[in-house]
């Protein structure tokens, strides 16, 4: 469960933000997950609930998925990542380290592996809301 490690990171980061904002209780945490990393939303959600400290007891975790947009640096083409086109081993490799996409994915227009992940790479903490 690689998602468990990411959930630990989310709780730690959200706790740091809550400390900085002097929040006594955290009501809402929004997390974005980029399609490229293919994080399992159900497993992430389960891990977040298992790991939550007292201050997060009543927290609602919202996990939203973001489409992955890639932009070729060589020809300027932009396209959306489609995991369906990859075999299982490659999908799993990208799940663990999204940057290895550069090993397996090429620009559909010019064939270059030199592209930018302009949005939807991995996990991102969007907002932490609570009461002081």
């Amino acid at each position: 469960m690689h998602e468990w490690a990411l959930a630990e990171a989310v709780i730690k980061a959200a706790t740091e933000i809550a400390d900085k904002e002097k929040l006594k209780e955290v009501a809402f945490v929004e997390i974005k997950i980029g399609e490229l990393q293919q994080v399992e939303r159900v497993i992430l959600s389960f891990a977040l609930k298992q790991l939550r400290p007292v201050r997060f007891k009543k927290t609602k975790f919202r996990i939203t998925r973001a489409k992955t947009q890639l932009k070729c640096r060589a020809c300027g083409n932009t396209w959306l990542f489609q995991k369906q086109k990859l075999d299982h081993t490659i999908k799993e490799a990208i799940h663990f380290v999204p940057e290895v996409a550069h090993t397996y994915i090429k620009c559909p227009r010019c064939g270059s592996p030199d592209f930018e992940i302009t949005q939807g790479r991995g996990i991102w903490l969007e907002q932490v809301i609570g009461t002081r």
């Binding site: 980061a13 081993t89 999204p98 090993t103 592996p113 932490v128």
Partner: protein
């Protein structure tokens, strides 16, 4: 708002007594061989050791170790497989030994990802095989691994030593500890690099003579430990352990 991965890295590295980045200003000075041999020797001396290949675009420690078919175990993160006594992590598990053409931002992201999800557990030493130069990996490491110490590898070449000056100057400015300098591929008994190292106020950890036979030990850690290079590295390991 925030990248959550960066918050967990210090916790992932918390049970490691010493993190040693084997680095150089220039490529081709034998860093990977020194890093791998040092890790193997420390393990042989009874330490619990991890080896992490951070040279993502040109990894080679897996070839030196002869690591084949190993994969990290997934258990609340990634547990590195044990190869020849070393908990060994590398991007090659995920690139299937194919090229990884990564730009700076990608290198940074891959490093942060692996630091955030790898569960090293208790280690006496984590040896890092660094890419050459003072780029993203060095800067990220200094940012995220607060207790990192550097060993700088050079050759007798004046060109290589010029880059030692730049790397050591950066590390000094950032108050990052430098264990010392290793002179690799020594062709004679000259003392110039020792003198120049000491002039910089750095420890000279030792010289390793050029050994053409080491090629036969690539992929065979037992054979590697029987080379003259390993004998000299053993002395460097002793110096490291006493510092």
């Amino acid at each position: 708002m925030a990248d959550p991965r960066t918050s967990i890295i210090s916790q992932r590295l918390a049970s490691i007594t010493r993190i040693i980045a084997v680095s150089s200003g220039k490529g081709g000075v034998g860093k990977s061989l020194v890093a791998t041999t040092l890790a193997l020797i420390l393990f042989k001396e009874g330490c619990k050791v991890g080896l992490f290949d951070l040279d993502f675009t040109s990894p080679s420690t897996h070839t030196i170790l002869g690591a084949k078919n190993a994969q990290p175990t997934e258990d609340k993160g990634l547990i590195p497989p044990n190869i020849n006594g070393l908990d060994y992590m590398s991007l090659i598990y995920y690139t299937n030994d194919q090229p990884a053409p990564l730009r700076g931002t990608d290198t940074s992201n891959a490093l942060i990802e692996l630091l955030a999800v790898t569960r090293w557990g208790q280690l006496d030493y984590l040896i890092l095989d660094m890419p050459p130069g003072i780029g993203d990996a060095v800067l990220d490491l200094i940012r995220f691994a607060k207790c990192v110490e550097f060993i700088i590898v050079t050759t007798p070449s004046q060109l290589a030593f010029e880059t030692v000056k730049k790397l050591s100057s950066l590390l000094k400015d950032l108050e990052v500890p430098i264990v010392g300098v290793v002179e690799n591929m020594k062709m004679d008994q000259g003392d110039t690099i020792r003198q120049k190292t000491e002039e910089l106020g750095l420890n000279f950890l030792g010289g390793i003579s050029y050994d053409p036979n080491v090629e036969h030990a690539i992929g065979n850690p037992e054979a590697l430990l029987n080379t003259a290079i390993a004998q000299r590295t053993q002395e460097i390991a002793k110096m490291l352990q006493t510092q």
